[in-house]
Symmetry: C2
Subunit: 336 residues, 2 copies
């Protein structure tokens, strides 16, 4: 039996299991609606470190070590680490891999990185190349804002479509067997570009990628939106969430309005004006899914979810050169 | 039978085949000792484009389309594209994926990216998730120098240990069956740091990573250096090549001096003072291996080679913050 179905989807023969997860967040995320679901809550955005970059690295390590600790595992028992983040040269992940000394695959899909890691990790396990892999990602508001937009110290005016980069990290420990939610399908995204070049409206830029991957998923598998208890995008925010519902209806005739949410709308109180359209960043999907969603699956409140992490491969340089922002979305099905 | 042997190595059950390759280079590389082996030779470093970044993208597309064309394949016949490059947000690869519309995994391992792509691509094929994948990478002297060091227009003085970033791209088209060199083993590197923080001496920074992965490869497989016709590192240059020989002897008691070469020393005439210690960049390994080495395998001049791509995950920001440069090396065995 081939494991490749349709055009972009794989179906795992022995679905890998998320054996444990770990999350670490900053104070603003800890004070938000999902605060109870996070493992490590830093009271200081610097996490006691000398720079925001070092703080982000600490949170990524927190998340990885928590996931390991929960099942009494050590880094040496992991065959591979798949990690990536928003910083140039995915340096947060590089330094975390240095500490963990696990054989390393660096990955980059902007905010789709978490699902890219779960997909490749699942292929590694189901392909017979190991029994345990760790997949992790992170973002930090103060490191991302200064790299991609303006240093936060500028106090630049934000647009209503702007999103707030999450300070947080998440890790998932995947096993080839065991108890926990299983990864049954993965739909691998194509890069799309719908002529958006506004780094202050990434939700609109990423929504077409989400729609493209969702459409592929339903076409490839024959499933319908209501086959899932929850469909969850990574960080489209209010603007992108609304667009995704509209475009799925217009282009595919599929109704997402019943059971579709977005991590960027769950992690913060959207009435807070600084949030704008919602949360974003690799840490948004990772903390919401590995914190909140994972707990809901374990408790039986959710049985089958479709996770769609969306990434805007936003390069400040190519934007300055007048180009659009290419985007990609990666999806997996999780079943309890 | 488990496919994971030793600590860091996998052995493929049905070794994937490199069915074809494509390379594209700039004029300086075309005029070098390996010029005859490259497919597309641009007479202009701008490749007719409006910016060096667009030129690099063109070369990556050239390489991918050449590899496809050689076996009369189309992008739609590829299940996955694994690509990464040196530019922030791997934007070259993102834009190439947009053109090719192949389901995309973005990867980043600095100059180790080519072998990271071959390894993950081989896992995908041997795991049963597809029949054809494309793995590609690129670099461009003028885009890399201004991002990582100084704009070339500055005419900054270079050190003898400096390396010259290759303007070039390479793509390998992997198949689950067919004729050609087969990927038999992959040894996945750990991130190492030997306290080097000089971006003008990356060969010395990367040599410990090469030694670490080479040691793991020989320990895991039980093979010896002389089991290979050629052991080839990616871009250690003269400085790193000498260090790697010395350290393999000192730490492992293994003699590399008989059959060990470095792509960075092959691609340029080392008597040219601007070359410094040798070539570097993702395009160095990719153009030398997918051009020269692949031809030698097809012609029967080489039968079994060990390829070790080395990456310095050099972040200008973390260097400015006083940190060392973490490095990683990825290895695969190719057999004809």
């Amino acid at each position: 039996m081939t494991k490749h179905i349709g055009k972009q989807t794989v179906q795992f023969a022995v679905p890998p299991v998320i054996l444990s997860t770990g999350t670490a967040v900053g104070p603003y995320e800890a004070a938000g609606p999902l605060g109870d679901y996070f493992d490590t809550k830093h009271v200081d955005p610097l996490a006691g470190a000398a720079s925001f970059e070092k703080a982000e690295r600490q949170m990524l390590l927190d998340a990885c070590l928590t996931a390991l600790h929960k099942i009494n595992a050590t880094p040496a028992q992991m065959q591979f680490l798949l990690a990536g983040d928003l910083l140039n040269q995915i340096i947060t992940s590089g330094f975390a891999a240095l500490e963990l000394t696990i054989p390393f695959f660096g990955i980059y899909g902007a905010c789709s990185t978490a699902v890219e890691g779960l997909t490749l990790g699942s292929m590694i396990l189901d392909g017979g190349f190991g029994e345990r892999v760790l997949a992790a990602t992170s973002s930090h508001n103060s490191t991302a804002e200064r790299q991609f937009r303006y240093p936060t110290e500028y106090g630049t005016q934000r647009k209503p479509s702007s999103q707030w980069t999450v300070t947080g990290a998440g890790a998932a420990l995947l096993g080839s067997s065991g108890l926990g939610p299983r990864i049954t399908y993965a739909t691998v995204g194509k890069v799309v570009d719908m002529a958006c070049n506004d780094p202050l409206n990434l939700g609109a830029a990423m929504a077409p990628a989400a729609v493209d991957t969702l459409s592929a998923h339903f076409n490839d598998t024959g499933l319908q939106p209501l086959d899932y208890d929850l469909i969850l995008t990574g960080d489209l925010g209010k603007v992108g969430h609304e667009l995704a519902i509209q475009w799925m209806k217009d282009t595919q005739g599929l109704d997402l309005s019943k059971n579709y949410q977005d991590c960027g709308m769950l992690i913060y109180d959207l009435d807070d004006p600084r949030v704008g359209s919602g949360g974003s960043g690799c840490g948004c999907f990772a903390s919401v899914v590995y914190g909140y969603v994972y707990q809901q699956l374990l408790r039986g409140n959710l049985k089958k979810v479709l996770l769609v992490a969306t990434g805007a491969m936003h390069s400040p340089l190519s934007c300055q050169q007048g180009e659009n922002i290419p985007c990609v979305a990666q999806a997996i099905s999780l079943e309890m």
